[in-house]
Symmetry: D2
């Protein structure tokens, strides 16, 4: 299926590893020029080289922290007029609600919610003017099913979701879509981090944690980064222009709610 985005410019935040990299990879494969971004120069360089080698795509490596004004400025200098924007950030650690003080709240709300919105604010007017935009936010399944230990993650991301939804209706007329992908247990470093956290916190083995992770998924397996990247590429396609304001769960069919 031709996704109609050959030559489009895609800015993929936090794409040197994990889910962001999977999205960058799928977009590069479809012929988009892709901004590969991360905070660690070596990771960015490695990912950029790998995507270039595999897809012959134009890759624009940007070492920058998207949660800072400087980082966002660097991204916009490298790619002033993106057609595609994938919002992504590293997730916070699990933490009981009772331990989250004002400072922690403000730090994480900034990183996971305010920073992506400030980047979006820079990018949206140009997309509307040019009559094409595809925005995908990578959030979390917990946006729909909050968990007591993950307040920092889902508070920020559900807040982000609501702004994106409000804007999606506002910019639809200009062929700019805004959608959200809700991953649950995609097999990346994040799942390994959470597993290691659980091993320490509960004194259980890697195999036990892993079995629990798998048992929590109706499909009986973790998802693959490639499955995730392809879903992102589809939502960024030309022919997805009538799909907006959607929250698509990639959770192996686990969510219990009707929607």
């Amino acid at each position: 299926m031709d996704l109609g985005i050959h030559g489009r410019r895609a800015m993929v935040c936090a794409s040197s590893r994990g889910l962001g990299r999977a999205c960058a990879n799928a977009l590069a494969r479809e012929g988009a020029a892709v901004v590969v971004n991360g905070r660690t120069a070596a990771d960015v360089a490695e990912t950029a080289a790998a995507l270039e080698a595999e897809h012959g795509a134009e890759i624009i490596p940007v070492v920058a922290d998207v949660t800072t004004a400087e980082g966002r400025a660097a991204l916009l200098v490298a790619c002033p007029e993106p057609d595609i924007l994938v919002l992504n950030s590293a997730g916070p650690p699990p933490m009981p609600f009772s331990r989250i003080d004002g400072e922690i709240w403000e730090r994480e709300l900034h990183a996971l919610m305010v920073a992506p919105l400030l980047l979006l604010r820079e990018v949206l007017p140009g997309m509307r003017r040019r009559g094409f935009g595809r925005i995908v936010a990578i959030t979390s399944a917990m946006v729909k099913s909050p968990h007591a230990l993950m307040s920092l993650s889902h508070a920020s991301r559900t807040g982000l979701t609501s702004v994106l939804k409000g804007q999606s209706r506002h910019v639809a007329r200009d062929n700019v879509t805004i959608n959200q992908l809700l991953p649950e247990r995609i097999d990346t470093g994040r799942q390994r981090e959470l597993a290691e956290h659980a091993m320490k916190a509960r004194g259980i083995t890697w195999e036990e944690v892993r079995a629990e992770q798998i048992a929590s998924i109706a499909a009986g397996r973790l998802g693959t980064p490639d499955e995730f990247g392809d879903a992102c590429a589809f939502l960024c396609s030309a022919q997805a222009g009538y799909i907006s304001g959607q929250s698509l769960q990639l959770d192996g069919g686990s969510y219990e709610g009707l929607w």
Copy 2:
């Protein structure tokens, strides 16, 4: 993007016209062998010939009414082991709640809900045994936002939705996914029918109705059948195996709810 369904067998109900045809077309383009089905022999033959000519695909024409036991039997004789099943049926006319008696309820519930479930029941065990299945139900945006005049449509389809959701969690382990597409104002004969209904009922012109239809969509346009078909093809792809139980709206970003 390679959808990984070349050679798969796809049964697409009510696919001689409209949204069903758009799905059949996209699946044939991706190399699936496609059952084209409808009640009118000439329509089925015309669509089958067109898809064959355009895509060089294997097309299996089946003239049958999927709302009857005989019709479902004919489909299963022609394609006993489908890998992909697209459930689709003609929508009922708008009707005030006060005019819907028991007989009308039972007829429409049968056509829009019971009949597709009886077909699904035949197909599901084989998909699970073979370890691959992609089921997509075409319903309506009204499943999420019911309208007083469309009770017959959304009652049946929301009921169908809930059974599909319950089953989706149950069969996920066997690499069988069940999703739903919720169209709103895709530019097919159905929109023209509804427009003609409104012209008669309210004494307004084609241009007036059409302007109203467009004004009701945040994107400021109707969707195209090809956009719809490609979304269906994506949900039927090999790489969509981690996506199940989802209700994806194709509504030009119009729905007001967060989800």
Copy 3:
């Protein structure tokens, strides 16, 4: 809190036992004249006598099966102009999807969905004309979180929900509200039935099933019929006139979804 429904006429379907009785009891306590209905004369008489004795309320006993045209006619003869209507019906047995044939579907869809809608159709115009109506449907938590074994229940009830929602927006202007209560494990005969079904099907003891039922509820207990009845009475109150189209879960805080 004065609910402002003293002297109102309340028709409560299937109210000789269980959740329906709890609603009838709360409404009688608030001074409404209540139709107590059931299929078994002795149960109806016993409940009617008990409510009369406890609350000194006017009770109108009607032995009738609301799933039949005769039963609905008997209810309307006994109470031609209800101000309050509580829709309720006995739930179907758990059954695997693969065993549900067309006949079973049609029987249960009629009992759980078509029959209440036909009763509603009779009652709604008068409520609108008189400028007061409170309609509450008792459905099930599974309307929001469908379960593979309970297709008969949630298909019918989710379909019912969607019609009620569509109508709720249509009749709001006439001070007629339509809401829904979604019980999960309220301690009635229904939970005992389901427990006995599980004991037989899985060869486990009463204590084991009961412990499972309790463990499935975040509150760590079953709900009481009185809690349920009071929620119903509140939604039927004069001051609940600005609340309509809502699906209120009484599930001890168990549902995982944000809404």
Copy 4:
């Protein structure tokens, strides 16, 4: 209906006016000892006196800004062990997304989301220990249906919602419930503020704005503060202990979504 909260201690934030006052009033009427709180001494004194006079209730006036650490400390000194907590704050002005910079985001997120969570954090452990707690957050209908001009409001409040939902499941076992009321066009000063904002921004008259406000509500009228207060009192009642994690809309039946 006896709500079973006579003698309970209720802390109602921002209750000298508007929706908060309506809640304080209903709780005082039911015999709770109520903390009346606001930033303006005269308003607090006037409301406290009025509730005392009308209900003979114990009223604890606290002049304090709940968005500051000092304000929260003052509330907790005045009422160290509340049984009931109503979270409420003044809403932010409408503002286009393009004009919201980092500083504005952080100020409003703090006021509408972080501050109430920090107060909740102080109160929750005691409620759990004592085995009784009723928490109600007053947010906005926009939590479910975001609007492009109200990002500041719904971002904060949807984030808040998700934390409350996660915690509600966690504390249900201790007879602590957490619910949310979503008002839409209740006839308070807030609606007059929004109307005046619209009059200036769009050059239209009071009557025109008011007609628009009314036309946006399915019930064809604004809601009354008393209706709102009574819904709050019901969710704070002893018999609402099995209801938690719910988002109850008071919107005159306007919301289009099934839920």
